[in-house]
Symmetry: C2
Subunit: 585 residues, 2 copies
């Protein structure tokens, strides 16, 4: 047996016990006559001691030879420390080592294995197995395990069944790009990796499974943004014989359970807001509601003067920054520059200082009097001491700009507390969105989302206005899940495909199996999919998902540790009957 205990569990009550421990040499300190070693494993750190008086000369010498990250096994006696360390649970004791075995040596690691390492991102990714030894990363992986365990526990208790759906499925050229997998046994044909198990979970409902869940990898061959991965993990769920309300309640319950079981946080409020309301109040469909600064629409109180910028704008929006009157002119100018960056794209910004005496001082005093400014303050909810910031322009653009500015300022003035949790449902999404490029309507969620029954008649005449039984789960300004009540009627599904510009042949060849299934008694059903990577990060008070993935890929989709993807050899390509073509420019 290698060890009797791990490095995190010995206490003063274990004094005088003979124990064996294994682990990594975290920090050796050689004082000549005495050597201390911090021995580390997943569970903690225990101090080892070797000294001239109590250790043999040979043992002391051996201890002096230990380097950082050596793997050792020791035996010895638990003794009380003379100078205790209150910062670690094992800090009252140390081990007087009687036997030391070096299980494996280590070269000097390319970066320090400490909470704050000197290693850059690239280096830490190349040596990810060393990065994982660092407490912050290790704890994040353990945290992820806890979250997924609690998710399984909650759903299993509610009679959800974990059903594995296939990874080698059929490519559907709509939507995001599929990763494809050539089939050797069926030459010239390809499988695709699932972007989600959507159609399979619907078929499980047709199959009477009633309540399904799966924590499952999904794949999208898309150009990666900083926080996207080509493979990502979804908590995929579906229920039969439910309306939207029951789905929302079930997954409110999940979020509450996670917050209570893992964060010891009890959430009372779980507000709901429609998509329209979210867009007008926050300028985006995933608002962070941990703080106010709601958008005020100022058109009615701003277009009566000679200020052309506002008079020609489709929409004028103001927000009140709490205590923002303390911003210096330079700070305000910096925000003006910030909104003018091409990523945001505003042309300019108007500000109004709300003085403590109730008076206002604005950058447009030339055009607007105190009464005008007072109206703006009313609409933006500004109080004495606040600062009103105003953007104007085309509706969609100015909302997006103001939403970005709102988050930026909130971040800077510490209104986005990562230990506070504000979940929110956004409901009543539009069914379709117009795509300028393809000149077609796209499904805002996906083509299986049910329109609101009362809106179906609008599909012919005013498709933009059709609302869907679709909902997003938002946590602290992040979309952590989305779902819908699905179509379960073949005729409505056919209609949807038609409006999405599928020919009859296309919908038949791609989704014929689902349409077919709807002919044999499909129950009403709906569900949701949550992004596990992001959910875990946010619950842990972080917004970077990479640290919560054991072996993430970089922004080019590469795993630089194992060097994947890489070239195949000639034989492999030949067996697959594939040839590489030169890249066209």
């Amino acid at each position: 047996m290698y060890r009797t205990h791990n490095c995190g569990e010995l206490r003063i009550s274990d004094s005088e016990k003979e124990v064996s421990l294994c682990g990594w040499v975290h920090k050796p300190r050689d004082k000549g006559f005495m050597v201390w070693v911090d021995l580390r494993d997943r569970y903690g750190i225990t101090q080892l001691i070797f000294d001239e008086q109590r250790s043999t000369k040979k043992l002391l010498e051996k201890a002096k030879g230990l380097g950082r990250e050596f793997v050792i096994k020791i035996s010895g006696k638990v003794i009380e420390r003379s100078s205790k360390n209150p910062n670690i649970p094992t800090g009252d004791i140390e081990i007087l080592v009687s036997d030391l075995e070096i299980l494996n040596k280590s070269q000097t690691p390319p970066f320090t294995i400490e909470n704050n390492t000197d290693g850059g991102e690239e280096l830490r990714m190349k040596y990810r197995y060393l990065d994982i030894r660092r407490s912050p990363i290790k704890e994040k992986l353990i945290f992820r395990h806890k979250v997924s365990s609690e998710i399984r526990k909650y759903l299993t208790k509610l009679n959800f069944i974990d059903v594995e759906t296939p990874y080698l499925i059929k490519s559907t050229p709509e939507g995001a790009r599929d990763f494809v997998v050539p089939s050797r046994m069926n030459q010239g044909e390809f499988y695709a990796l699932p972007q989600s198990p959507q159609t399979f979970k619907q078929l499980l409902m047709v199959g009477g499974i009633d309540r399904y869940f799966q924590i499952v990898k999904c794949f999208r061959d898309e150009d990666l943004r900083a926080d996207r991965q080509p493979e990502f993990t979804q908590i995929d769920c579906e229920m039969s014989f439910v309306n939207q309300e029951e789905v929302l309640k079930t997954f409110e319950g999940l979020v509450k359970h996670l917050l209570s079981a893992i964060k010891k946080v009890s959430i009372e409020k779980f507000p709901r807001i429609t998509y329209m309301e979210a867009m007008s109040k926050y300028g985006c469909d995933k608002p962070d509601i941990r703080f106010g600064m709601e958008l005020g629409e100022l058109n009615d109180v701003s277009k009566h003067k000679d200020f052309t910028v506002f008079n020609t704008a489709e929409l004028i929006i103001g927000i009140a920054v709490p205590n923002g009157n303390s911003f210096t002119r330079k700070e305000i100018d910096n925000y003006t520059s910030w909104v003018r960056r091409p990523q945001i794209g505003a042309l300019g910004m108007v500000y109004v200082r709300c003085n403590d005496d109730g008076s206002f001082k604005s950058s447009v005093d030339k055009f607007y009097n105190q009464e005008d400014l007072s109206n703006w303050a009313k609409i933006t909810n500004a109080k004495n001491g606040d600062l009103i910031l105003i953007l104007s322009g085309k509706k969609h653009e100015v909302r997006a700009q103001m939403s970005a500015l709102r988050l930026e300022i909130a971040e800077n003035i510490n209104l986005r507390n990562p230990e506070e949790f504000a979940p929110l449902w956004v409901t009543d999404f539009p069914l379709l969105e117009w795509d300028e490029e393809s000149k077609k309507y796209h499904a805002m969620h996906h083509p299986f989302t049910s329109p609101k029954i009362e809106d179906i008649k609008l599909l012919e005449t005013n498709p933009k206005e059709v609302k869907a039984n679709a909902y997003d789960l938002v946590l602290n300004g992040n979309e952590i899940g989305g779902g819908s009540i699905r179509i379960h009627d073949k005729n409505i599904q056919s209609l949807m495909f038609k409006y999405l510009g599928f020919s009859k042949e296309e919908s038949e060849s791609q989704f014929g199996f689902l349409m077919n299934a709807f002919e044999y008694g499909a129950p009403p059903h709906g569900g949701i999919a949550l992004g596990l990577d992001r959910l875990v990060a946010i619950l842990d008070g972080s917004e970077s998902i990479k640290d919560y993935i054991a072996f993430p890929k970089n922004n080019s989709g590469k795993d630089i540790m194992i060097d994947a993807p890489s070239a195949l050899n000639k034989e492999q390509l030949e067996e697959l009957c594939l040839a590489l073509k030169e890249q066209s420019e």
Copy 2:
């Protein structure tokens, strides 16, 4: 709300309650003045009743219009049945329906949704969503969920952490064939789908995760046998600072936990046998030990007479069939034909009848006398009334033949009771096996398996004799898992690659990241991987894994329901810079 209860939960104590139920019309029975409907959902069947006296005419007419597999919602009152059905839990009550809503109609299903269906395999696969509605299939999926839940529970309790490893990894041309995935963002390069997370779990051990598990899909692009799938599910586990004994104990515990939690079976014995012993006692490395019929080697007591067949054989093996003397001559002849089939390949079979009076009658009485036959009986453990069957030939072949015969007979005389569980560890596997085709040694488990330390010196001189710290978990004659203590020393790993015929460049380019990791303090570690599909099937008393997979592929690797794999369109191929080549003959 669609329903107040499900179709499996109402009892006599619910009488007089007003309830709503949803489900599928399992069986409508129209007696003219009265209509009964068996309403089915995942949870059970509840009888609905409509009649002339208590239902409106309109409602009765609507009920008469219901067809099999229609999806309906009903409201009504729970009443006591006049003729109770003791075979179902809801059999004491029925629902007097007051309101009926047809949620979705159904065409007549292509096969009956009954426990014993009239649908053939192909049809059931094409309409798998209907097949899943059948109780036997649905229950198998639920059973699988229970097994995986209990596995997670057991391992989590023992401090194992569920860590997700990547699916898009690097192709390694050794071993079974990889499925590959062209990368669009890195043109000309490919990912591979993992055959197992082997190297990643080892890196997690190097990373100090200490105890890892994952229930994970793995992929092999191999020609499929009846019971193989291109994608399959593994319970993948790894532990640090353990020797073989601790791994075996941990996973004995898992099997015992599953048997006790799910099958209410308590297992006392968990025998171990070496590979060598298994081969000589049972002729195979995954023996079914629910019954005896152990192989007796008869060389020493058979080569002294003029029977050329035995005299020229490398090995002569007999087994005693309990009470086999009751076999007719025709039955014995049938077994002779059976072993002569090309799949088995024996040339002939000798038999000895052990009469009740202690005398013997054999097919080789011309050569052997009663004393010879009595010796054979002793060695094969044959008793009066048994039948000894004897095969001879080359060692490897005759063992395989006899192993097959032993299982065939045991199956036929009902010695393989699916409700009896006999687990077994097979240990001390050879490290290497000689491959005639490539004239190379292959790793019997995989190249990361540690040789027994005391055998390392034999690697140069007698590689065949080197034993590995490798073990298989066998249950009822099926290999349900295999694992080993891994190499954690870079030099030994290099040596292994050398003996397996890797050039230095090959091992560097394929496994350089692992070799590198071994330089930075790799702990001793070992683990196991269990096949979930098979484990679930065997625990449920079945040997067919397909029924335990929601959407299995057929023997050509095709999903005939969704029609995958299939051709890609031109644009997709172009984006990937791939061209199809004509298949070479």
